[in-house]
Subunit: 205 residues, 2 copies
């Protein structure tokens, strides 16, 4: 009897644990599949790769839209977590650069997704989760790093978190539209960080 | 007889002069109309504004595409001329900033046009005139200013003309896509010119 009782108790727990594992596994696989194949990636292939049946995938995500939304939400949460983690980086300038690169990677991976989610709308970050837009979430997390960088006078006076996100957004869509390799974003960021102008002008000699 | 001969000679001359005037006038009006109303601007309104009949407009520009092409070519020529003019500006840093702003204005005005010309292609500057792409023409003219700025060590070492054009392109499409006011381009350029980073980091006080 205790054995049966133990089984009766453990089964739903194991099921919930399995369900959570399945959910997380599907989202992780889908995130990679959408990044590689775009928002039209095969749902069958995703289920296969995540080692779940098509019925399980459908139970968690009734439509492709639900899965896209979960992947997008997952990526925003990852970026926000990474941003908070960077607040512990001792050098505020290093934290800022690592944050900008993370914002760039997030944008590069999410651009197509966000467009699919908004069905043609063009403002990539304005998807809402729990009443807060992704843009607001990314902005609020970034603000902490930016304020710290200002406190250490690492940032040029007057430069805002929004300026920095817009600059990364600009570089990412330019790289995308001009079919440049991803390396161009790092190159442009490097120039923008230190300035187009040299700090030591001299007469030609 | 001399009078008739004079008239016979002068008539085609006057006609050619009128034709040139009409052509230039149509292109100038169309350039403004396309900038305001986009590539679908009314050809009738353009003819009216340019004070020519619809038949005259059609004789010069058999299709809307011919007119779009003439306007685009005219703008590229204007930018190249402005760039050459800036080479005479005594301060190479000032010349560079004025050039970057001109590139931005050209891009802002030409973006929709270029897209119409290429019918959906996304690389805005790659339209060909006389076998040379607009991009190559804009680049070659800019190179002179950039080389001079490098000679005076005004520019950060390693920054290329292509980098600068890509940065302006990035800021322009970001401003466009995010429905920002045009002022954002100047703001982002200002940050990129002097750098996101402050040049004098200090400990917080």
């Amino acid at each position: 009897v205790p054995r049966t009782a133990a089984r009766a108790l453990s089964t739903p727990r194991r099921t919930r644990k399995d369900a959570r594992r399945n959910y997380a596994q599907i989202v992780a696989v889908a995130s990679a599949a959408f990044a590689v194949h775009g928002a039209d990636a095969s749902l069958e292939a995703i289920a296969r790769e995540a080692e779940v049946g098509p019925a399980t995938l459908r139970r968690h995500f009734p439509t492709r839209y639900h899965l896209l939304e979960a992947v997008f939400s997952h990526r925003v949460a990852e970026l926000v977590e990474r941003t908070r983690h960077l607040a512990e980086e001792p050098d505020p300038a290093v934290a800022l650069v690592l944050w900008l690169r993370s914002v760039g990677s997030y944008m590069a991976a999410s651009r197509g997704l966000a467009e699919s989610l908004m069905q043609g709308a063009d403002q990539q970050l304005d998807v809402t989760f729990d009443g807060e837009t992704c843009y607001a979430m990314v902005l609020a997390a970034g603000d902490e790093l930016v304020q710290r960088a200002h406190a250490f006078a690492v940032l040029r006076a007057g430069v805002t978190t929004e300026d920095l996100i817009t600059i990364m957004y600009a570089f990412c869509i330019a790289a995308d539209q001009a079919h440049h390799d991803a390396g161009i974003v790092d190159r442009l960021l490097e120039i923008a960080l230190h300035g187009i102008f040299s700090t030591q002008p001299r007469t030609p000699g």
